[in-house]
Each structure stands twice: as structure tokens, then as C-alpha cells.
Amino acid sequence: MNKTKKRFTEAYLGIYGLWLIAFVVAPLLLLVIQSVSVPGQGFSLSNYKEFFTSGPYLAMTVNSVWYAFLITMVTLVIAYPLALCLTKLKHRQFWLLLVILPTWINLLLKTYAFIGLLGKGGLLNSGLEHLGFGPTQLLFTNGAFLLVAAYIELPFMVLPIYNALLDIDPLLPAASRDLGASAGQTLKKVIWPLSLPGVKTGVQTVFIPSLSLFMITRLIGGNKVITLGTAIEEHFLVTQNWSFGSTIGVVLIIAMGLTMALTGEKKKKKKGGRR
């Protein structure tokens, strides 16, 4: 019996491994090779040296991390209660699908809609005017940028959290309440810790792409926020310096690998503790 199971595992590994080699390892290698082959110099680490010694690029890196962090936080703050509310609804699967539905509309189009909503003569501003706040500058502000970025990432945060919340044994919160815990305490001590794996997945699926956002930074942020994504896009499409663009990409991938490894470690300790 165990032998067949092992064979299954091997088959899985084989299929998946082949795929990884063809479509992850190979492109990754190409990327690394490109980043160390500087035009006119052959093999050289000069790109990496330039990246880590140039003020603008370091400033941009710090900027990217900071904004990605803020976007993740804003998204989490909106998504967690939403996921929690969703699990309590009667037709929750239906509502969940309604959360995903907006993502099927083209991103650029939605961004244009936001320009219309947030603009000077836009709906939001005319609403504010009725309330007596006068026209306010909303576009090209950090607030608008965070809002739209969070809007786009929201479903990717809600889904894993919702799934994690649904898996919680309903008896546990009930028991907590029976034992005299307030709703707040139950949430904090029982529901939140149990939903952490979902939160972690959500944070990963939101934080990482947020590091390399590029279109919204221009359309909504008016390039007031510049991320590494902008730089990569520029190197690949404007200056055509693929070598340096690849360098930034490799740095980004390594940075994410480190982040993943660190968060992964934590999780294991916790699991050990529980058992």
C-alpha cells in the first residue's frame, strides 16, 4: 500500500518538477545571466554594484517597501472584517463570488472609472460639495493611491482569509463564549489566531505584487510614488537596458525569497508549540 502511495508522490513530484524546471528555473536562469552580462563588458557584476550604491535606486527600494506595507495594511483592515461578515451570511458563497466578480473587469478600465470618480468634477467631489466641503484635490494624493491599490488587491486578501475562517470549528468560538469571553475577546483570542494562516497567504499575495505596481502609480498617484516596478518597466520598455532591468528583478526575487523564508520559519515554531 505504502509503495503505491510513494509512487503517486513521485509522479506528482515528476510532473510538477518538470513544469518548474521549464517555466521557472529556465526563465530565472535567463534572467540571472542577463543581469550579469553587461552590454560591451561581458560578464560583470557592475549592475549590482550600481544598484546598491546609487541613491535614487535605494530611495526607490525603501519607497516601494513602505508603500507595499501600507497597501497591505489598508487591504487587510478592509478585508478581514469583510471576510468575517461574509462567513456569517446565509448565502455566503454567492456573496463571495460577488467579491471576485469586479476583478474580471479590465484593470485599466477600472482605473479610468476611478479617475472619473475622484476627479475635480467627479462624483465624490460633488458629493462632498453638497455636504459643504468644497472641491478637494483627491487625485494624485497618497490617499487616492492607497485606496485604488487596496481596491485592486482586496479580493486577493478576502479569499484566503474567508477560507481560513470557514475552516474554524464553529464549536470553538461557541465554547469561548460559553466560558464567558466577550465577543471581542473571542475574536482576539480564538478567531484571529486560528485564521492566521489565511491572513498570511493573503499578506503574501498582496504585499509582493504591491512592490512592483506600476500603472496605478502613474494614473492615480501622478508618479508621486515611484516603485521598483516603475523602474523595471522603464528599463525594459524605455531605455531597453534589459540587463539592468533584470538586475532589479533578481534583487526583488531574492528579497522576496528572504521574506518568505523568514515568515515560513515562524509558522513552523508555532505549529510545534501547539502540539
Binding site: 476627479g119 502613474r218 494614473l219 501622478g222 510614488v225 520598455l237 524605455v238 531597453q240
Partner: protein, 360 residues
Amino acid sequence: MKKLLMTFSGIALLLVLFIGLQFALTASRSQSDSGKKDTITFYNWGDYIDPEILKDFEKESGYKVNYQTFDSNEAMYTKIKQGGTNFDLAVPSDYMVAKLKDAGLLAKLDKSKLSGMSHFDKTFMNQSFDKGNEYSLPYFWGTLGILYNKKVVSEGDLKGWSSIWSEKYRHRLLLVDSARDVLGLTLLSQGKSVNDKNVADIAAAQGKLSSLMPNVKAIVGDELKLYMAQGEGDLAVTYSGEARNAMERNKDLAYTVPEDGSNLWLDNLVIPKKAEHKEAAYALMNYLSRPDVAAKNAKYIGYATPNKDAKALLPDSVKNNEGFYPKQDLLDKLQVYEKFNQYWTQKYNDAFLEFKLGKS
């Protein structure tokens, strides 16, 4: 498991349905195309031709047109160079023509097969990027200038490029997100050329540029016209074609080119070396050069046409508008961008990047 299976077989069914539909559509299209000659692959900017012209051309010539789109010169260059698709006709801008030519990716034009050469205005022929028009014919042209709201900005205040540094415009200016254009206008304001290749000049321009920051509200791309039409900014540095588009949506907007000169840009028709249907490409090129067709196209796109006989067919309000068809003395001051190598492209871009980062 059952639910999973049901869901996925539903999805598979849907997939089959779509594929069937696609086949039906393709079949119905090719049926009406039966008896036609070759299919020509036209690689152009999105929505950069009146679709009716393509239909008329198909009817008239018997060729079928496969219209493919790109969103930047550089992206187009990558695709043509990689060679996965054989494009028959493409529309690069001026400096990109030079780049494609130098990379050996363009086919030389056979002048004997071109019937529309006499219609073109000499001002736009024989440019530095393609001397003697050996590889390209102009498609549309325009300038870089200032789009402003007549209600709050007066044209008299916008005589030179330096005027946008004025404290009056604090936090009111939108800039086009392009290193070459923004640095170029700064160089012009300092009496230099847009093609300046002098490190000290570029450093000086960067210095001057950094003091523009308080005026800048945002640095944006194609959507600039949308923002201006919505009244997000009071003035903006942008291209004439974009300005025209915004002015159609908002009557308070106007466009001017500062007197110290500007950039002249041209989009051009070229035939890539790997084109498989060159005869068809020539046919389409000639068709687009016909004055009546070029005029129709110009009306649809709104950019300035280099075809002087087509220009004559345009309404007076368009052809006499100095913003879009400047007088000769200003026209003489316009400079076409020369192709930069990677070193200088990088130099300009680094300067622009530092300018952008200096904002926060």
C-alpha cells in the same frame, strides 16, 4: 468530488462552446473574404486609423488586413526584432525608424512602387532619421507644446518654455511622463538643443528642472488628455495630437507652441525586412497616401497630416489653426529627436528619474 467534477465539466463545456463560436465567427469572416488575395499584417498604435479606411481598402484592393496593435515604440521594436510574427507594415516614430534601420530590420522602399510621393509636404520629408526617405514615409506629425485652460491661463503668458517655471503656476502643471521631452524642453529654455550631448548641459538642465517641482501636480502618460479635459490641471506639457483630443472634449482648452522652438515628431510607415506580403504593403501605403483617404484619416485621428494635398481638403478651422499647423517661422525652429544610443538614453532617464524622486 461530485461537485468539483460538475463544476469543471461545466467549465469545459463553456470552453467548447466558445471555441465553437470562435470557429463560426472566423468561418463567417473568411467566407465573405473568399476570393481575396493575401492578408497583410498591419502593426500600428491602437485606434490609430479610421476603421472605415481599412474596410474600404479591403473592398477596393482585394487584400485582407490583419490589424495588430502596440502601445509604445520600444515594445514594437522588441516584437519586430524578436521576429515571431512577420509584420508587413509598421508605424514607428522618428527616432525609432533610425533605430530599426540601424538594426537592419527595415526593407528599403522601392520608389517605383510608390505612387503618392508627390502629395507630401517637403518640410516633413528627408529628415535626419531617414535621409532621402529610403525606408519610411510620414504618416502623421505634431509638436510638443503647452495645453492650457483659457479661463485661468492667458496665452500671452506662455511665450517661452521658461514661463512654466513661473510661481503663478504653483501645483497647477501636468507633465508628460517622458525623459526626452521634459529634459528637451528644459534644454530649449536654456537655449540648447533637444539633442544635446554634453554632460555639463544635461546637469545644468537637471538643476533647473528640480526647481520646477513645486509647480508640478502630476507626471502622467496618455491619460493626460483625460485629466486636462476634466480640469485636473490648469496647464500641461503634452503633444499636439493629445492636446487636440482633449480640446474636443473641453472647449475651454487651447494649445500653443512656445516661441523658443520645440520638438517635431513624426510617425512613419515602414516595411519590415521580414515582411511576407510586400506588394500588399505597398498597396496599403499608396492607398493611405491618397489625399482623400489621408484627409479622412486626419479627420478621424485629429493629428496633423504631412500630406499637403490632404491638408487642403480639411476644413479651414483645422488647417488654419496655428497650434496644429504652425506658421513657417516656428516650423523652422522645430527639431526632430535624433536617435540616442543606450548611454545617452540612460543619461536622460537617470536625470529625469532623480527629478521625479526629488518630489517627495
